[in-house]
Subunit: 459 residues, 2 copies
Amino acid sequence: VIRDAIARDIAAIVGQGGVLQGPAARPYLTDATEAQGLVGRADAVCLPTSVDQVQAVLSWCYAHDVAVIPRGGGTGYAGGAVPLEGGVVVALGRLDGVDTFDPFEWRIRVKAGIVTRRLKHLVRSHGLWFPPDPGAAESSQIGGNIATNAGGPHAFKYGVTGKWVTGIEAIVPPGDRIEIGGPIRKDVAGYDLKSLLTGSEGTLAIITAAWLRLTPAPEAALPIVAFYPDEISGCAAIARVVATGLLPATLEYLDATTLAAAGATFPGGLPEDAAFLVVAEADGSLAAATALRDELQVTLSDDAVEVRAPAERAAIDALWNWREGVSIAVTTMRGGKLSEDIVVPVDQINAALTEIDALGRRYGLATCSWGHAGDGNIHATFMLSRDDRDELERVEQAARELLHFAVSAGGSISGEHGIGWVKRGELARQWPPRAIELHEQIKLLFDPKCLLNPGKKTT
Amino acid sequence: VIRDAIARDIAAIVGQGGVLQGPAARPYLTDATEAQGLVGRADAVCLPTSVDQVQAVLSWCYAHDVAVIPRGGGTGYAGGAVPLEGGVVVALGRLDGVDTFDPFEWRIRVKAGIVTRRLKHLVRSHGLWFPPDPGAAESSQIGGNIATNAGGPHAFKYGVTGKWVTGIEAIVPPGDRIEIGGPIRKDVAGYDLKSLLTGSEGTLAIITAAWLRLTPAPEAALPIVAFYPDEISGCAAIARVVATGLLPATLEYLDATTLAAAGATFPGGLPEDAAFLVVAEADGSLAAATALRDELQVTLSDDAVEVRAPAERAAIDALWNWREGVSIAVTTMRGGKLSEDIVVPVDQINAALTEIDALGRRYGLATCSWGHAGDGNIHATFMLSRDDRDELERVEQAARELLHFAVSAGGSISGEHGIGWVKRGELARQWPPRAIELHEQIKLLFDPKCLLNPGKKTT
């Protein structure tokens, strides 16, 4: 099939306005890995407006041996949404309706393309909460969040996206619509295909809609911000919170270099000598949150340079908006970065930070890290100048060594970003051969022609 | 392979004392479906004492085309642990060690055979909690709980067993040991094989050990017990709690017939005119739990015959011990019962209870129900006299109609018990053909000879 013929046939399904060409298509050829220079190419970029259209596009592609690259908001850090070698990009952003919202039953059914922040605002206006809070909520979409099983700061207390998904509608090759689960909170009838699709990064099916579980919004969510003079005292504070048996909603950290990159805009300014930051949050009823906030404040105070507990709505919002911008602030330091998202057992965080420093020294790289300390999920970052091939190679080598460290520490090569294209072939570090074999066979069951998001999440 | 030869070869792996014969083997041929008359037969019943032995037994069976029936505490209601047509029962109860307990990191690695109650006591003595609380905690084992993704009352706030499992070690045919996940709280590296094994009812692998996530034990857990004159007012109270946005840890109900069966031993006695019971629990810090308890008490009071809020430790324990005994009390009414565990959207509970009543009338059967109202998970029960073939047939027909109702209400045929043998072939009511096909193909990937728990969880 020649390139123009593909676009023409896809346009026959989604309409002329549903196929993007030229500069309009360009944003759909990258994701956050563009900072590493990754840009793909596509035979067509389409934006279906109905599940029927998604089904028809996948069926057409499967019949014509054309690759399909499903795409949400394109905010991923693993290249999972980048079309590597042509094919049809299926961007789900126009499939953004709310099918059913039952606030009195704490549940909602949404199409895959609804933007995370819009969903969160909608349910919040009814006193409910959808806790998963991956970065880039203003762009990321629920379908993409499910396809990557996205996390975020509140995953510490509330779990990752998948824990809030009770049903998934998806199109499976060669073009079958299936729905697993629904507006229910328990289901052990079949093998857990819902969880199998969650985090499968568009390599098994195109997720088109989901039933989500919601929960009553906590009355209060009060942050505690603690600054430390070094990594050792900061990591000790994190360990102390966990050992004390307090249960904050978040338990985040940022290291000295991250603070240097993002600190200029820190609300209220950083204290002098702050080289490590911990952000916890106490939530619940106002009374419960206040009591927990006070306990956390005491627990975090040992060896701290300063501990703050902003209580005003505006100050709290400013803090979390700042936290959300950290990744971009780090990127702008040198123009580019490679951000890993390894997971280690929580008692290995200090060792992981030491390893990141050592890798930076060994490879002559600027490094920094921040992340979800309570979950042991570390955004280890290697900064990149653009157009320095040698540096990029050293970064990639250092990143591979870091993955090796994570696995040998009993952890995982990815807690949030997924394998995508960036970590292709790395799963074998973590899984034994029989599990790798099952992984590959499951891929072939769903997608025997290997046309769904080819080259991604490969073992 | 002849029967004695099987037992002899298995004994060569697990030792003479590890193979049970005659009356000693009898308890391993049934589970809770014995009340429906289900008793299996086995060529050998073995109790391995190490993961190596489990691996060797599975390898031997796979090489000799002998079926393997993995078994935990044998407390299931779906016949999932019953050896239907011979083979080797692998009972994991002697594999009950604690491999690693890291109380300061809220995690534990246990072997599959550890008894639920023992695990819960062990972690509680360190201020931690493992929330899943399926019935029969004194007999059920963690491996079985994972293999069925067991629930329980506290699943309403805290989720089912699978949400607390961060790693699984399992033996996969033809005899490979794999470990997926570990002492970590996030992991999106590979397809979610951990969740695929969770709830797979011993048909894909033998689970031998697991890493579990724990959480700080709440300081207080205060029940509220509300009695209603009928189903309608009781169901309205449940809906009111959810609509109000209160978040109890449990939201249970019991209907009039269940109260009649179990009410004689209700702590403090039942009020006159009590025909429906709701049991909620408020947990958290003492202050938070007390405040929520008071709110729940108000919300549950409309139309209630009486609302009680036992506050003494002994009274609270007595209440939950009574709740735990309900299933047995119902069984003893007639000598037997068939208990379903359908799930419906929470707003369909009232309709489900009406349907159960109608089925009882249509088939001339005594029925009752209780369950996890907040999760829409209903233990619909048809009472059985022993040795009445005609009644058993009517019960089975009524149960099939109930499954049909659950699916047409947007629910599931099983929320806790699984498919086992009792609900074989029923998944196609709930899943479309392509999903059924994937289910069958996944089974063949893991177990190409179909020797693992044959006849169970079949579509």
